[in-house]
């Protein structure tokens, strides 16, 4: 069966801020080669590690984000490495990179230089703040981008300091937008008549984080209200985290949801014999403004919290959903592996890990495409695993050409 991104050859020079971009391309059929420095990508040594082994071949993030890619080692700061890289570029469609602005120029492999070798090349550059501007040279990390992009200020409890979301969400946001941008550019290049002209894409991690501000920007722009953190309390009466026997549930029966979901939740409590629940059918509860009052939050809490505490998260989930109420368990990773819906969809896949000789279960298709399905990747490359093969092929192409 043909694949959506068949024939697209990608050179992936990124570190942790970009490797998910290459994964997205690879898993739909692009031929992705991870180009690492001679001592390997820094992500190889980012913990945690499979079996706790920090030997460059057991990094969990590396194993996941690079599954299915080919691996080549090149010293891009050397003359020979640069020449070998340019030979690869001559036969590539996309270069993804996450070096500091100016580094690719200094190496003699900037977009303008690559364009001379391959005028149709798409180069996707992912940096914390973009290629130019007052912060372009800043040092960064995921949490620094979350801070300057605004999401950090919204994360955490109403009475706490700001708390970063788990799992490098700033870098991942950039990798995702970079993947979208790359396909937009490929679309332009492939649609164009000869001679095809490539594109340079400038992705800023900070700017990608800003996209996660939800309605906070508009609250400031239109109403002059600066939104703050709000975990640890209901966002609107009826919307928030509640403890149950074995963890928590998130119920969303207030705020932007239609009135019927909010009312279904009230009827649930009435059916369960929760005394006083009927007061929440009073017309004043229909207003989002009333739902943000202390009074409304307190009333909802005093009625719903004792009820939730008597049940498991699975029971509350399925019973609530059968009543058309948006309620979900707060799942742990282990819960996800046992989730009946994900398993019915065959979401998790087993991917081989070369160094241990074992296969490990990991998230699979993030979408199902009927004609060009997502395919489970092969293992992540060992350091330099495909160097000889890939570089010889590039040299051969040049000799033949």
């Amino acid at each position: 069966m043909s694949r959506a991104l068949t024939g697209i050859r990608v050179l992936d020079l990124t570190d942790e801020s970009g490797q998910y971009c290459g994964k997205l391309l690879c898993d739909l059929g692009a031929d992705v080669t991870l180009v690492e420095p001679p001592n390997g990508s820094s992500v190889r040594h980012r913990g945690p590690f499979i079996d706790g082994r920090d030997d460059g071949e057991h990094g969990i993030a590396f194993t996941y984000f690079n599954a299915g890619k080919h691996g080549v080692c090149l010293d891009l700061d050397s003359v020979q490495g640069r020449e070998e890289f340019l030979r690869l570029v001559a036969n590539a469609d996309v270069v993804i990179e996450s070096e500091k602005p100016g580094k690719m120029v200094a190496r003699g492999i900037s977009y303008d230089q690559l364009k001379r070798i391959n005028p149709a090349i798409v180069m996707t550059s992912i940096t914390p703040f973009g290629q130019t501007g007052p912060y372009a040279e800043f040092e960064s990390d995921d949490i620094v981008c979350l801070a300057l992009g605004g999401m950090l200020h919204l994360g955490g409890y109403h009475d706490s300091y700001p708390i970063a979301a788990g799992g490098n969400q700033a870098y991942l946001a950039a990798a995702q937008f970079a993947a979208v941008a790359t396909l937009l550019a490929i679309h332009s290049v492939e649609e164009a008549r000869e001679p095809r002209q490539g594109r340079h894409i400038d992705v800023s991690v900070q700017e990608c984080v800003v996209m996660g501000m939800e309605n906070a920007i508009q609250f400031y722009d239109l109403e002059g209200v600066v939104r703050r953190r709000e975990a640890g309390q209901q966002r609107w009466a009826g919307t928030g985290v509640f403890d149950c026997i074995d963890g928590q549930v998130y119920v969303m029966a207030g705020g932007i949801v239609p009135a019927r979901f909010r009312e279904a939740n009230v009827h649930w409590l009435i059916d369960e014999g929760v005394e006083g629940a009927a007061q929440m059918l009073d017309p004043r509860w229909a207003s989002q403004d009333f739902q943000t009052t202390e009074e409304a939050r307190r009333i909802f809490h005093d009625l719903f919290a004792p009820f939730a505490r008597q049940h498991t998260k699975e029971w509350l989930y399925h019973e609530g959903q059968s009543r058309r109420i948006p309620i979900c368990p707060v799942n742990t990773p282990a819960d996800l592996l046992g989730n009946r819906q994900l398993n019915a969809r065959g979401h998790f896949v087993d991917v081989q890990h070369t160094a241990s000789g074992k296969a490990f279960r990991m998230p699979g298709a993030p979408y199902m495409l009927s004609a060009t399905p997502w395919k489970a990747p092969g293992p992540a490359p060992l350091l330099g695993e495909h160097s000889r093969q890939v570089l010889a092929r590039a040299a051969g192409t040049e000799a033949a050409g």
């Binding site: 706790g52 984000f65 007052p134 990390d141 019915a344 969809r345 495409l369």
Partner: protein, 406 residues
């Protein structure tokens, strides 16, 4: 050459609320002709959600709605009316992409499921993005970004270990993971169609992209048996790592100290003295062992400082540091976002000048976007029915009178 990549691609857009609208915004901002099918009888709930221009409620006044719908056209069709459905089919027959984020079965109820669409438009790319996917025991379940954050594990791994899970404080999956994955899949399907002429059905469960992002956390369980939980701002790769108070109310600076050079530069800028200067703290492991004492000491040294001044001083010495920006700060005070032209002011027919996000990347040879504000409810109904579908004014008036265009 300022042509947009997707000019010539038409999208019949049945999406609403968060994730769906953000997906088609990405397509619209890059030149696709996105026609949003709405109904006054079944309003996109964001049209009636705060914030409103000047705080005054109205279906054309919500900023929550407008930012997600730049560059689109809006028509109103009553999909419960047979003639409304017939118009939707005609629109689909001239569209390349058909998008929705309803619960499975809803489009089928309107006669607009994939099988029906394929009859009308064999090479259509049909994007369905329900909460949990088109099939499976929980496929009819309801959700929003916040509950999806809980279901996918993101909520569980975000927050303090000894308190309830905090999550991101936003409907995060709606804003980045789901729109990016859905747009990426749609663009991949467009490429396949360009090469083969074949359309296809795309099923995005609004849980799976966020789970994909948590791959390392899942692998930590499947490979090592560790069911990971939240760790506040603590991370293995850097100490100190987190936020430190600065002068003013709710003002903070984020730091990530990963090397002896970062650590010593931090101490220099903060003019630290005494035990913090012990050379053993050049070692990351030693800093981790004394993490709480070190963090308290650093807090005492940052507390009186202005966050932006401190950021500039630290960055000048090569220390990864960033002010924790509020929404106001990133609109008014961020020179980098201003340099990139991230904020675009567009003149909306009812809201006047209001702020929109530009896409967070720049593509060379491509124009500045967005340039058109969100549409009023049904603003383009006549224009689309006449201009695109060729209906006469009398026919449109009759359909309106019959309730097909509500």
């Amino acid at each position: 050459m300022n042509k947009f990549p997707l000019s010539g691609v038409r999208v019949a857009d049945f999406t609403w609320i968060g994730a769906g609208s953000f997906t088609t915004k990405l397509l619209a901002d890059f030149g696709a002709e996105v026609i949003k099918i709405e109904s006054a009888d079944r309003l996109d709930s964001l049209r009636v959600s705060r914030p409103f221009k000047d705080g005054v409620e109205g279906v054309n006044r919500s900023g929550y709605f407008s930012d997600r719908n730049s560059s689109k056209q809006s028509i109103t069709l009553n999909l419960k009316h047979s003639e409304g459905q017939a118009l939707a089919r005609r629109l689909i027959s001239v569209s390349d992409v058909v998008a929705n984020n309803f619960t499975p079965g809803t489009m089928e109820k309107f006669g607009l499921g994939y099988d029906a669409v394929r009859e009308i438009r064999p090479d259509a790319i049909y994007l369905a993005m329900s909460m949990q996917g088109a099939r499976g025991p929980d496929s009819s379940y309801l959700g929003y970004g916040l509950t999806i954050g809980a279901l996918t594990g993101l909520q569980h791994v975000s927050g303090l270990p000894d308190r309830e899970p905090a999550g991101t404080g936003t409907n995060y999956p709606d804003h980045i993971p789901n729109p990016c994955h859905a747009a990426f899949a749609t663009l991949a399907a467009l490429r396949h169609r360009r090469r083969t002429g074949e359309g296809q059905y795309i099923d995005v469960a609004q849980t799976e992209p966020t789970i994909a992002l948590l791959g390392p956390t899942i692998l930590q369980y499947t490979a090592n048996g560790i069911d990971a939980s939240r760790t506040g701002n603590e991370r293995q790769h850097a100490t100190p790592h987190g936020v430190f108070p600065c002068a003013g109310a709710d003002r903070w600076i984020a730091l990530s100290i990963r090397s002896p050079a970062h650590w010593n530069a931090l101490l220099d800028v903060l003019e630290a003295s005494g035990w913090l200067r012990d050379s053993r703290f050049n070692c990351a492991e030693q800093r981790r062992e004394s993490r709480l004492e070190i963090e308290s000491a650093i807090q005492r040294l940052t507390r009186e400082r202005d966050a932006n001044v401190l950021m500039a001083q630290l960055q000048a010495q090569g220390v990864p540091a960033g002010t924790v920006r509020t929404a106001r700060d990133i609109v008014e005070d961020d020179p980098q976002l201003r340099h990139r032209g991230h904020w675009v002011t567009l003149d909306h027919p009812e809201m006047g000048n209001s702020l929109y996000n530009a896409p967070p990347f720049r593509i060379s040879e491509t124009g500045v976007t967005p340039s058109r504000p969100a549409p009023l409810l049904g603003q383009h109904t006549d224009e689309v029915l006449h201009g695109l579908l060729g209906l006469g004014a009398d026919e449109i008036a009759r359909l309106r009178k019959d309730g097909a265009l509500r």
